[in-house]
Amino acid sequence: MARNGVVSRRRRTEGFDSSDLSKSDHAQQAHVLAVDDSLVDRIVIERLLKISCCKVTAVDSGSRALQFLGLDDEKSSVVDSLKVDLIITDYCMPGMSGYELMKKIKESSAFKEIPVVIMSSENVLSRIDRCLEEGAEDFIVKPVKLSDVKRIKNYMIREDRSSGEDRGTNSRKRPRDGCDSLSSSQSLNSPPPSLESKLFNRFYPTVLRPSPSKPPSPLFSLSPLPSSSPLPRSPSPTPSSSPCAPLDSPTRRVKLINSAHVMPS
């Protein structure tokens, strides 16, 4: 879908679908770059983000995303001064996958600090592991819901938009007007999450998280998993060259959990 490079049926400004760029009263809103080849999904994620008080630029491919960021070979960025606070991308896309896009972003000195969230319709543990290890903040299993977007807003707020601030040493941001103030009350003085805590947060998004200064408590057991995170399917017996085929699932998660001293069920 959208094979001819059209970003959105409705707006074609410069080939990108950017909204509310000119409204100065939205200057303090987080700006999210959303990447998804499915038009239906782009419309939905755009709405979810806007309703959560974000500015959104939606593109239909990884290469378009790099072009927007100015990371493509032509170094053409539409709006240089427009900062991106979070990138949310579909995993399975023709051409460049969301994983490959994230790797390119993490390899760039200008953009590696931007939090990246991956979305996928497939709940494949090895895929989740790979993405988190490569630096993804979170992994959302589609269909994306409002609660998912509320959760990822936390990552945006930790990225202080004022210049010169490093991650983990942010001062409190002022609350967004008219928006849910829940996320602005989250603790901001937290160190970057470890891989173990990312996995923990991924599977227990609604559980009160332990203090970021210590690892997840060993009293938390892994079962039962929440119903929104079904166990992955067993690996396909035949290897497939399709980038979106189920991957064989290593026991990395079990190793990580064991290293965090959490007892599997």
Partner: protein, 156 residues
């Protein structure tokens, strides 16, 4: 008249509940509904219309791909994957389920199986299309009469 709107609203609630009970729609549809408000009164209609257009395109592509002498199962699977994704995003549960079954046939490289799956997906698609058109028409009637669309309580 208030009574008229009330009747329409009750019809809507009952009809919607029946679609959920029959597994035609799932909670994700409620998510979409909740994203619609006065500033975006046509959001659901817009998304559903895009889904219809997209699905017709994909079903045609699937029929074409399966009609080839040497079926490219990777291509077929890619189309089914897209259809599965968009049906999941709007909450069209039965279409989504039919796509999951379809992908198994693709993995097995079973042409006959795939053709049967295509038949099933097509059937489910036209079913949900029909039902959604009725549902959305009811919603439009309520809005036109000055009423608001009742929120569905969480399906257990």
């Amino acid at each position: 008249m208030d009574g008229g709107v009330g009747l329409l609203q009750r019809q809507l609630v009952d009809y919607r509940a029946s679609l959920f009970n029959e597994g035609i729609l799932n909670e994700q549809f409620n998510q979409l509904q909740s994203l619609q408000d006065e500033s975006n009164p046509d959001f659901v209609v817009e998304v559903v219309s895009l889904f219809f257009e997209d699905s017709v395109r994909l079903l045609n592509e699937l029929a074409k791909s399966l009609d080839q002498r040497n079926v490219d199962f990777k291509k077929v699977d890619a189309h089914v994957h897209q259809l599965k994704g968009s049906s999941s995003s709007i909450g069209a549960q039965r279409v989504q389920n039919a796509c999951i079954a379809f992908r198994s046939c693709c993995e097995e490289k079973n042409v006959e199986g795939c053709l049967k799956c295509l038949q099933q997906v097509t059937k489910e698609y036209y079913l949900v299309k029909n039902k959604l058109e009725i549902l959305l028409k009811l919603e439009q009637q309520i809005l036109a009469a000055g009423g608001s669309i009742p929120v569905q309580s969480e399906v257990i």
